[in-house]
Symmetry: C2
Subunit: 240 residues, 2 copies
């Protein structure tokens, strides 16, 4: 059986890739990496290192044209600054982090780093490409922390189940989704990855596009905590 893994170059997808290679064998694993206009395009370089380490075929697609008008602070096309601090703090205290200009109709509280329907679009592309390539499973690293408090509505178990059903139905039952981390935390992901000896020193999560991780943005803080909970140090921060 062949599988397609969405590989961003961060911790979650790198661990998902390691698990897929361990389960299916590297010759049956196809890595899909998406350029979407992110400021932190160093993660694309990281994804190459990770895919290279595991010896899997990797394919890149560029979707930046879809998101160029989104106003997400995560993107080069936006002049907004990426807020510092963890996601949890952003949700609790900040009031100026809602998405785009649509505050008036947002019962939801989408934070400024939200990219419109990003995971839905990534999964839809993955479904089209998986079916073209004869892969019957799409594996991706959405996890419980990102879904917490609906900070990212496209990371929840409910969203994942709906997309899975859409893809099963829409591909005539040839492709489905596996999201092995959808109910677990980043700390649990790191635990599994440390057991599998994932080369986390190659990964990149920082939302800023600097030479080294900033150590202050949401992802830097969250990944650092995830290592700490496992009694380990983040090798990416060590590197810097």
């Amino acid at each position: 059986m062949k599988v397609l893994v969405l590989v961003s170059g961060g911790i979650d997808s790198s661990t998902a890739l390691a698990m897929a290679v361990s389960k299916y064998g590297k010759e049956n694993v196809y890595a899909l990496s998406v350029i979407y206009g992110q400021k932190h395009d160093r993660e694309i370089e990281a994804s190459k290192k990770i895919a290279g380490f595991y010896g899997v075929e990797q394919h890149f697609i560029d979707l930046s044209f879809i998101f160029k008008d989104s106003g997400s602070s995560l993107l080069k096309s936006s002049e907004k600054e990426i807020p510092s601090g963890s996601y949890a703090r952003q949700k609790d205290n900040d009031t100026d982090l809602s998405f785009g200009e649509k505050k008036e109709n947002a019962g939801t509280e989408l934070i400024s780093t939200y990219v419109p329907f990003r995971n839905g679009l990534f999964l839809a592309c993955a479904a089209s490409i998986a079916q073209s390539k004869g892969c019957s499973v799409i594996i991706y690293g959405a996890h419980a922390d990102d879904a917490a408090g609906s900070a990212y509505p496209d990371c929840t178990p409910e969203f994942n189940a709906a997309m899975d059903r859409s893809i099963i139905l829409g591909t005539g039952n040839e492709v489905h989704i596996e999201a092995p981390f959808v109910n677990i935390t980043k700390a649990d992901i790191v635990k599994r990855g440390l057991e599998l000896k994932v080369p986390y020193e190659y990964t990149w999560s920082c939302y800023e596009g600097g030479e080294k991780p900033c150590g202050k943005c949401a992802t830097c803080i969250d990944r650092s905590k995830a290592f700490a909970k496992n009694g380990a140090e983040d090798p990416a921060l060590k590197r810097s």
Copy 2:
């Protein structure tokens, strides 16, 4: 309220656009047209004529890079010929029309003109762009004939409902789908369009890329029948 209409340049989406303009006003309607490597790229020209006729803003995206390895006979990247005859006949009698090279694992019978998860991907792009542009509804023209016998699994009411749920959840309840034709036939669509005086002479449906509609392919036959059932003649065939 602003809406996004997927406009291909064929009969179904042109009628959907006419209904949307009539209901919401042209200043609130945004047309999205997708280039996906189709042999019949004359439909893109048709979509421009239709959007121009209704005076709505139109945006194009090119997704051909996603489908280039799909082997679908509908695409320039495939050397397969588009089969002639109506969809119904293809499903009933032909044995050589399954999708790509994956016959062995296909309990489904995907026909050669199937493009992997095409509608799913179009709707996902539409969701990202709709949310970026402040549109709260995506309107598209999937209809019962295309879904018949699961010829196109990504045209069924079940698929549509699953994608609608995915988009509602994934956009934090800001965007949803309306598929006004999902339970009606092409003949019923033409009936509504004739009432709204849709300029069907501008539309293009033929699967071949010729100067004029071939009159023999699945879509030519099916649209001709849809007009006949309304006691009308297809103005596109008249033109030729």
